[in-house]
Amino acid sequence: MILRSIRLHNVRRFTDPVIVRGIEPGLNVLAAPNEKGKSTILDALHAMFFRDRKSFDKRIKSLVPHAGGTPKVIAEIERDGTVFRLEKSWGRGSGKSVKVFVGDRLHRQADDAEEWIRGVMKPPERGGPAGLLWVRQGQVGFDLGDKRSKEGAHLARRNMLTSSIESEVDAMTGGRKMEVAQARCDEELGRYVTATRREKKGGPLTACRLQVDEIAARVQGLKQKSIQLKEELTDRKRKRRILDDLRDPDGEAERRRRLEEAEKAYAAAHRHAQQLENARTLEDSKRLEAERAKDRCDTLLRDVLERGQAMDEYQRAKKAAAEVAQDVDRYNEALVHQDTLWKEAIKAAERARTALELSRRRDNMVTVEARRAELVSRLEQALVARRELETARAEERTEVPPEEVERLGAMVAHIRSLQRDRDREATAITMNYVPGQEGAVRMGTRDLEHGMRIAIPEGTLLDIAGIGRLRIHADQRVDDASLRAARNKLQSRLQSLGHNSIEDARASLGRRQAAGERRRDAEVKLRGVAPDGIDRLRAHLAELPEEDEMVLGALLMPDARLLDAKARRDLEVAVEAKEHARRHASEAERRLERLAATQDSAEARLRRVRVVLQGIEEPDVEVARREATHARLLKELKVREKMRYALEEAAPDMSDVRSRLERARSVIARADEEKARLREVLAKLDTSIELQDGNAVEEELADAQEQLVAAEIRLKEILHEVAVLVRLKKALTKAQKAARDRYVDPVKKELLPLLRMMWPGGQISWDAEEILPDTFERAGTTEKFSVLSGGTQEQIAILVRLAFARMLARRGTPAPAILDDAIVYTDDDRIEAMFDVLTRQAKDLQIIVLTCRQKAFRELGGKALRIEPAS
């Protein structure tokens, strides 16, 4: 936004319209003496942009002239290339008005116009600073009204400088409103919690929580008492009912009647029990008598019977023993026979075993002889091979070794080479025959070949057929000493080897090689037949046993094994037969022994019974007599039993009768005891209940429970209050930090080059908490702002303002910077630098300087403004 003009009517001293026109985008200076209305213009502008037309507070009232009237302000602003005219007046009733024109066209009015102006004053992003910036001396901006000591100290620290800068900082960070809000949050939170949000000792939150705990504990205690009280009341009611029942006269009479009945029943039962005991004694006596009679009868019958049985048994055993004795004899004879057979079988088996042993030894001997023959054969072959080996080795040693033959061959080749050299230098002849005369010339024993050169170093003798002998003398002598030496050396070597020529030597080598072949064959053969050596072979042979003629004589028993097997089978049969016969014989003997024992037993029984029955003439008659006695006694026992049974049937249950008696006695005793006990218990309960009544336990409990509910509600309210304050504090802190990050740091950045124009190397540090300059460093010294001179403070204040304006301009929301007598304390030297700064910033900012220092500001340059009457 760029301010173009401002027109006032009925604003303080300007009862007649005045105008400041021609305000340009760059630097503008309105220099006029004091009391000419410069501050009025500033206040009017402030009202235009920040006071609703409906406002009529002390700020607006201060605009009204003494004579009265409706203050009206008209301002022209340029925004995004369009010029708007804003008209606003304040007053009661119809006097208030606001309109926005574009040219002569009404653009907005009333609330729309107010909203539009608010939009102009704010950057596009909500929460940005206002669109006008000004410095006004001494204006604090807001009246906090709170005189708390902390705040008071804080306010005291805000001198002219900070209040000036503060107007911008406020716009960004919430300013003093924010501080007040933060301080109130801190103060109220501080009542409840510590800085770390812990519950504050002695604070209302802690007190409330303690109260809740205390009441809850009291409720708990009272509850227990109340429960005890109710239990006691219930117990008392129950016990009293029991006591009433016990005291009931009808009940007591009934208990006594039951006791008498029980006592009578017990006496009758006791008598009956004695009768029954007597009857049982008589019955037992009779039963014993009858049983004795029965025993005597049975004993006699058993003895008679046993006598007959023993006699029969004795006779049977005797007869059987005679029969078994015959069997014993027969089995013994058979046993003797089988024993004979068995002994024969043993002998046959021994013979067969001997034959088999001989046969086995013969087989072993055959194997030994075969081995011996093989060893002898191998020994003979080995001896032959060893002789061949030794012969071949001897031959090899006597013949010429191959290396000697090679050496001789070399010597021969050397001689031939020497000879060829000699022949080339020696006289030579060449015979060229005419056709048909070939072989006509002979040299020695051989024909001269046609065209062949033949050296004749020492001359020669030629026989020419049909012509005669031609002697040729060699005139030129050839040196053949080397040849002769070589031949001598060869000859000497041959002689040392025992040979005359090289061919003999070679023949010797051929024999040596043949001997070698034979030696190798003999070695192979020797290893084949005697791998471990001939001595070892001889040792094996010596180890073999000598021949056994007797064994060899058994060679004529080829079926020894068959005979042995048969003999074994025969022996087994004989053993089995003998065992069988022996078992039969033993069995018969044991039977015979048992029969003898039976016979002895029967005889003994017979003797005992005879002793018992001695004196009884007729046992059968005696038996009949004893049986009659027993029958009589049984009849008498029956009678006794019936008598006893009848008494038993009629007998009362003694334990039942006794129990009833005891119970009847006990009931009365217990009732008396219970009455006494209940009286005592009830007295105690009454005392306890009365005590509880006096303590009003239930009333106290109900009261405490209700108090607990109230205290818990209070605690909840306090916790909610703390949550509200914490949330508010968090929101404020967060917003303030965001504003700082968004605006303050960029402002610092813009400020630095301006600062350096005034004080090369100058540096400002900022109070992070207050977001205000803290110290100023220049020329190597650092000072607190509070001790800086007034001039320096105001200069820095203006620089901060200009930096802020530059920051807004860079963000696309340029705002005019208005300086109202802002440079008062600055000396002439420093003011020059300040003018440079203003001029520099005015290149892309609108700056309006209002000053009373007309002379000093003449040097500033820029567009000069005037307050002039509006036409």
Binding site: M172, L233, E698, L728
Partner: protein, 368 residues
């Protein structure tokens, strides 16, 4: 000749009102004791000799000596009156020591057994005393089968809740009077006055004790013309305090302070009024602050005044937020709190805290 009596119940003597502020508690306790005298006066005015107390004369089974002694002393002041009492669930027959003492006073007739009792010549009372706090059965059932000579006025006296016409185990069927041929069934337990049928009534407490039942406490002055005839029942105020829970529905355009004043406007002494105002609807930030201030200002005039605003929404207009700050960090904080208070994705508690934080911010900075 008609038979006249007074029907009351649920005096709950000894109740201490622990959830209420200290300033009113003593007065409420005292008013409760004073109800005895006022009920007696109603009986005198009504020409009755009997006051039927349908249970819960005391708040507990073991009231403190000062409570029961002062009560019985007050009840004995009128020689011509007899207080006919049955124990209720709060002071059941388990409280034997209490009732032993009460029974020693001539002015009191305790009916501890469910058997017919002659109240006056030609008038039979059928009581249903509570043997314990929760007996688990309908104690009035015996009234149907009891044999009583014809030509007598039959009055039932019981304590407990009623339900439908089913035979629930513990509740009293609402047609018990008709089924048992009672001329009148005097019921207690419900602290508000209620007519169940022509012959069956809850008298209500003579002095209200919470906001569940509006208005003043009452008792019933009953006249029975004769056996089988319809009774005449007259409600008589006995309460000292006027209890009321009122709803205050607000809109942003409405002046909240005036609206509060309107709902609190009522005749009578505000000193004896207890009011619980439940505000709901929506108002703007300034109005809300003004409402809170008005409630704080008015409270001392009343016996008790609370304004609950849990259900009251706050509508924030731009002007309201501008009153906090037109821009800058304060405005950012206010916008954030407003958004949070309207964010349905958050818990109800978080929204409430955010809204309260915004209101607090407004309260702090708007006057600056």
């Amino acid at each position: 000749m008609p038979f006249r009596f007074v029907h009351t119940s649920d005096l709950h003597l000894g109740k201490r009102f622990g959830t209420y502020p200290e300033s009113i508690r003593g007065r409420l306790v005292e008013a409760r004791h004073g109800a005895l005298h006022r009920v007696a006066q109603v009986a005198v005015d009504h020409g009755a000799r009997h006051i039927l107390v349908a249970g819960d004369l005391f708040d507990s089974e073991t009231p403190s000596p000062s409570v029961w002694r002062q009560a019985l002393s007050e009840m004995s002041r009128h020689d011509s009156l007899q207080w006919v009492i049955i124990p209720g669930n709060h002071d059941s027959l388990v409280a034997e020591p209490l009732w032993d003492r009460v029974g020693q006073y001539d002015a009191v007739r305790l009916l501890a057994e469910p058997t017919p009792a002659e109240l006056a010549p030609g008038v039979v009372l059928l009581p249903a005393p509570m043997p314990s706090r929760s007996p688990g059965r309908d104690l009035t059932r015996w009234m149907e089968g009891v044999s009583i000579p014809s030509g007598l006025i039959r009055i039932g006296l019981a304590h407990g809740g009623i339900a439908g016409f089913g035979e629930d185990s513990e509740v009293i069927p609402p047609n018990r009077a008709e089924r048992a041929s009672l001329d009148y069934l005097a019921l207690g337990d419900w602290h508000g006055q209620m007519r169940v049928t022509d012959r069956t009534w809850y008298s209500g407490s003579p002095e209200r004790d919470n906001f569940k039942h509006d208005g003043y406490g009452t008792c019933l002055a009953v006249t029975l013309p004769g056996p089988g005839q319809t009774p005449t029942v007259k409600s008589v105020r006995t309460g000292q305090f006027d209890w009321a829970e009122v709803e205050l529905t607000l809109t942003p355009e409405q002046g909240a302070v005036k609206a509060l004043a309107a709902v609190l406007h009522a005749g009578g002494s505000r000193r004896n009024m207890l009011r619980k105002v439940r505000a709901n609807g929506w108002i703007r930030l300034p109005e809300r602050a003004a409402l809170a201030q008005a409630a704080e200002d008015l409270a001392p005039e009343f016996g008790l005044l609370t304004v609950r605003t849990e259900d009251l929404g706050t509508e924030c207009m731009v002007d309201d937020l501008d009153a906090i700050s037109a821009g800058g960090a304060l405005r950012v904080a206010a916008d954030e709190l407003l958004a949070e208070s309207e964010n349905n994705a958050l818990s109800d508690e978080d929204r409430k805290v955010a809204g309260a934080s915004l209101r607090r911010l407004y309260t702090i900075v708007a006057p600056l």
